[in-house]
C-alpha cells in the first residue's frame, strides 16, 4: 500500500481573500442588520448565508466569521454548512457563469454533448470554479425545465431547447449568447475531447 509520490495539495491560501477588517463597512453593517432581522437565531444560518452571498457575490471568510460571531456559532460549524451546499460559493466568482443541465431529461436529449461542446468552445473545464477567467461552467442536475430539454442557464437566464442536433445553429446561438472564449488561441483545444467527466459519449 504505497502511495504514488506527489506533492500534497497546499493548504488553501486565504491571504488573497479579504479578512473581515477589509470588507466594506457598509456590507458589514448590512450583514449585522439582516442577522438581527432573523432574530439572531442560529437556525436561520442558511437564510443568512443566502443573503450574505447576495451582498458580496460569494461568501468571503471575513463575512463567515462575522456571521459565526453574530449568530453565536462555532467557526467550523459555519464553514461546514457553507461548504456543504453547492449553491454557496467560497471564492469570488468569474464575471460570467453558465450552468449546463445534466439531469436525466437533458442527458437523454444531449446535455452531455452540449457540456463537452461548451468546454471546448470556452477552453475550460466543467465544474472548475476558476473557469477560463471570464466564464465558469458548472453542471446542475435538473432545473425542473425538463420539458424544454436540453437547457442552459447563462448568467441566471434559462435558455431552453438547445439545438444539439444542428451544430451550426447551436454555434450561432451560443455565439449570440456571448459564450465565446476570451482568448481565441485556447478555443478548440480540449485535452478531454472524449468528453469524459461530462456524461458525454
Amino acid at each position: 500500500m504505497i502511495a504514488p509520490l506527489s506533492a500534497p495539495p497546499s493548504a488553501p491560501s486565504r491571504a488573497d481573500l479579504p479578512p473581515e477588517a477589509d470588507l466594506p463597512a457598509e456590507a458589514v453593517e448590512r450583514t449585522s442588520r439582516l442577522i438581527r432581522q432573523h432574530g439572531s437565531r442560529s437556525d436561520a444560518l442558511i437564510e443568512v448565508l443566502h443573503q450574505v452571498q447576495e451582498l458580496y457575490g460569494y461568501l468571503p471568510p471575513g463575512a463567515l466569521a462575522q456571521v459565526a460571531r453574530e449568530l453565536k456559532l462555532p467557526l467550523a460549524q459555519v464553514f461546514g454548512v457553507a461548504s456543504f451546499y453547492h449553491l454557496f460559493r467560497l471564492g469570488a466568482p468569474t464575471a460570467h457563469r453558465c450552468a449546463v443541465c445534466l439531469g436525466t431529461a437533458c442527458f437523454v436529449k444531449g446535455g452531455g454533448e452540449l457540456a463537452a461542446r461548451l468546454e471546448r468552445r470556452l477552453g475550460l473545464r466543467l465544474d472548475d470554479a476558476a473557469g477560463n477567467g471570464t466564464w465558469a461552467l458548472e453542471h446542475v442536475s435538473c432545473l425542473g425545465a425538463c420539458g424544454q430539454a436540453p437547457v442552459l442557464v447563462v448568467d441566471g437566464h434559462l435558455e431552453p431547447r438547445l439545438p444539439v442536433d444542428d451544430p451550426a445553429a447551436l454555434d450561432a446561438l451560443l455565439g449570440a449568447l456571448g459564450l465565446s472564449a476570451n482568448d481565441a488561441s485556447d478555443a478548440g483545444t480540449d485535452a478531454r475531447a472524449d468528453g469524459s467527466g461530462t456524461g458525454a459519449r
Binding site: M1, A3, P4, P9, A68, A76, F84
Partner: protein
Amino acid sequence: MSVHTLTVDGEEVAVPAGATLLDAVRAAGAELPTLCHLDGLTPVGACRLCLVELEGSGKLQPACATAAGEGMAVLTQTPQLQAYRRMAVELFFAEGTHVCAFCVANGNCELQDVAVAVGMDHSRFPYQYPQRRVDASHPHFAIDHHRCILCTRCVRVCDEIEGAHVWDVANRGRECTIITGLDEPWGEVQACTSCGKCVDACPTGAIFRKDDTTAEKQTHRERPQLLRDAREKHQWQNQ
C-alpha cells in the same frame, strides 16, 4: 428502572430501558466491530460496521444508534453481515491512503484492528490515492488527512466534552474533509485549548502527537465516558 429483555444470537439478555443494541450485544458477551462509535459521545451510525440484523424483518440497523426494545431478536454474525463488513473495511482502506508500516498508530489503530477482525488483508476495490493535506501547524499535534476515516469522533469529543467545537466536517460526499475553524491551519484556531481529547478519540493515526513516531501513538479511548460520567453523574474517577 424498567428493563428490556431481548435476544442476541439466540442468547437472552436484559438491559435497562434507554440502552442501545450495542449495549445489549456487549451484555450478551458478543463481539461487534465499531469505528464511529465511542462511549460517551452521541452516536451517529456512520461507519455501518456495527450493523445487526433484526430477525423476522431482516432489516439491518446500526447497533450503536438503535434503542434496544422489548422482545427484539438480533443477529450479529450472519454470513451476509460478515461479507458487508469486510467490504466496508475495504472501502475505508481504498478511499484513504494507509501505509501502516510508517504510521504512528501502527499496532494501536482501530481501523487496523477491524481489518484483522473481519479478515481483510487487501482491498478488491482500487485504491484512490486521494490528494489530501497534512496540517502540522499546531505546536503539539498534527493531522494527516490521508488516514482520516471521517468518523467524526474528533468533532464530537471537541464539541460535546471539551466544549470548544474546533472541528467540523466540510464539503460533502467524497470531498468531505475534517476542518479546524474556518478551514484554517489548526495552529491558528484560537478556540483550540490544546487539550488533546481529539488525539485520544481518533481511532486511527490521523490525529497524533508530534512527539510520537512510528507505532508510538497511545490513546485513552475511555476518557470521554469518564468525563461525561463525572460531569453528569458526579462519578469521579477516584470513586
